[in-house]
């Protein structure tokens, strides 16, 4: 148990240096996302940061429509190989072509608004 754990800040700090990190409970092996002070369900506080594989699958997908000329974009739920689910964007392909079950890989984009986890088609 780490008393000085700062879940959101630490996750973002890892992301800023290009690392996709997940929490994992030492006792149960359970992966946790989003980062928090204790594992959901068990309440286990023995959470370590471990690097994620970056491999994932599209679990659900939508295209957010904007008034042209502003482009529409993808919003998807991604199941990571480690067994956690998160919201993200599948980039570099037309958002309409993102399909459920599609294998994707994590990419970290660094911009003025900070670092952002996105996914590209495998």
């Amino acid at each position: 148990m780490s008393e000085d754990l700062r879940p959101v800040q630490e996750w973002q700090a890892h992301l800023a240096v290009g690392r996709l990190m997940l929490q994992r409970s030492r006792s149960t092996g359970q992966f946790v996302f989003y980062p928090r002070v204790a594992a959901p369900g068990t309440g286990a506080q023995d959470l370590d940061w471990v690097e994620a594989s970056g491999r994932g699958t599209v679990h659900a997908t939508t295209v957010v429509r904007r008034k042209p000329p502003e482009p529409s974009y993808s919003v998807a739920l991604i199941d990571l190989a480690e067994g956690v689910r998160l919201m993200s964007e599948v980039v570099d392909i037309a958002p309409e072509t993102v399909t459920i079950g599609m294998p994707v890989r994590a990419r970290i984009d660094h911009g003025e608004a900070g670092s952002r986890l996105v996914f590209v088609a495998e």
Binding site: H59, T61, T62, V63, V75, L77, M87, G101
Partner: protein
């Protein structure tokens, strides 16, 4: 007492709506106060009878305190829960328990909101999750769209199935003079409407208009002295399964699969006993999910179940007879309007849209399919 609920020992004795559609120039608390006084009048009661307030103000965290002060009463119970649109079904549950315990004698459940008459953003206090905000989902449409995408993928549900829900709601709305949107709507109109967040178009989304509502509840023994026939609370159950859509345990199974069976067992009823079903229709996908989860059809069969006007007037099941959040009213939180319409149906006050009804179900939804609450209501014949 059966299954944790005092079946039939509390009743709705007053119900009212106010300002549906556009209600400019007043505040949300003005609207809630108006609806409250109308509901009390409907019950033959007065403010002096009220000793409990259950309300969810659209912009004020301490809305219950505000309303007590505004009305000039000092309630023994004041509750402003934060489960979203399902709050009012949970209030009915909590009020029934408090009434049965003798903690209170008369509960006022009320809500008013006028987002359509205010600048965007003036109503609402929910923050976007730091885990979702970077991806700019439309809140809450994209979350429901993600659930719909999953349902379509697994079960072959189509946009046309979703459109059936919108068209059925509109056809009910055309029978309800109070409904805000009553012009004709076809399946093709819905399919051709501007897309919001695939597979949902603007016609798959509920309204965002003004409206207020109130109900008054008291114990069954006191209810017989009220002005109108009491509508008894036969069962009420609720559950929270998540907050954000990414944490929903299964995107195609809502907490209604838990609360429905529980509330029906409390009420001692089966699906075939239900005459009117009021389902929170934030988006067209939600009634499909709730029909499945409550047990009206098997999981995945919600699309075919609603096809061919099956939940429209004259269909196999009367669903959302007021026109729903899709065509009647949705001022941010819609749950209380479900209870009002169910009450009107059971009292025989529903005019052209009246169903011969002894049992009605109101199913509330809060967050993004996050909080679910089922209330079973019945006439005296069901006691």
């Amino acid at each position: 007492m059966t299954n944790g609920f005092p079946r039939g020992r509390a009743a709705i004795v007053g119900a009212a709506t106010y300002g549906i559609g556009r209600c400019p120039g007043v505040s949300a608390v003005d609207m809630a106060a108006r609806a409250s006084l109308m509901a009390l009048d409907d019950a033959g009661l007065t403010l002096a009878d009220v000793d409990a307030i259950y309300t969810s103000a659209p912009y004020e965290v301490l809305g219950g305190l505000e309303l007590a002060e505004y009305l000039g009463i000092q309630p023994r119970v004041t509750d402003c829960n934060r489960t979203g649109g399902s709050a009012f079904e949970i209030y009915a549950q909590q009020a029934a328990l408090a009434l049965d315990a003798g903690l209170i004698d008369c509960a006022l459940i009320t809500y008013g909101s006028n987002p359509a008459s205010n600048p965007p953003g003036a109503v609402g206090m929910s923050r976007q999750s730091v885990w979702e905000a970077p991806y700019r989902p439309i809140a809450p449409a994209s979350s429901y769209a993600l659930a719909a995408s999953r349902h379509m993928h697994l079960y072959g549900t189509t946009r046309r199935d979703l459109a059936e829900v919108a068209v059925a709601a509109r056809r009910w709305a055309q029978l309800n003079p109070e409904a805000a949107v009553r012009d004709p709507l076809t399946i093709e109109d819905v399919l051709g409407a501007r897309m919001l967040s695939d597979p949902l178009s603007v016609r798959d989304a509920c309204l965002f208009n003004d409206g207020a509502a109130a109900i008054v509840m008291t114990r069954a023994d006191r209810a017989k002295d009220c002005a109108k026939p009491p509508v008894f609370v036969l069962g009420a159950a609720s559950v929270v399964t998540h907050r954000e859509i990414s944490a929903m345990p299964d995107l195609t199974v809502t907490g209604a699969a838990i609360t429905g069976p529980q509330a029906f067992a409390q009420a001692g009823i089966g699906i075939s006993d239900i005459d009117v079903v009021m389902l929170y229709d934030a988006f067209t996908i939600t009634p499909i999910l709730f029909l499945e989860d409550l047990g009206f059809c098997a999981k995945g069969e919600g699309g075919p179940f609603v096809a061919n006007g099956a939940i429209a007037p004259g269909g196999r099941l009367a669903v959302n007879t007021n026109g729903g959040g899709l065509s009647c009213v949705h001022p941010g939180m819609y749950g209380l309007f479900l209870l009002v319409e169910a009450t009107r149906q059971l009292r025989g006050e529903a005019g052209d849209r009246q169903i011969g009804a002894n049992i009605a179900v109101a199913h509330g939804n809060g967050g993004v399919l996050s909080s679910q609450a089922t209330v079973v209501l019945g006439t005296r014949a069901t006691l």
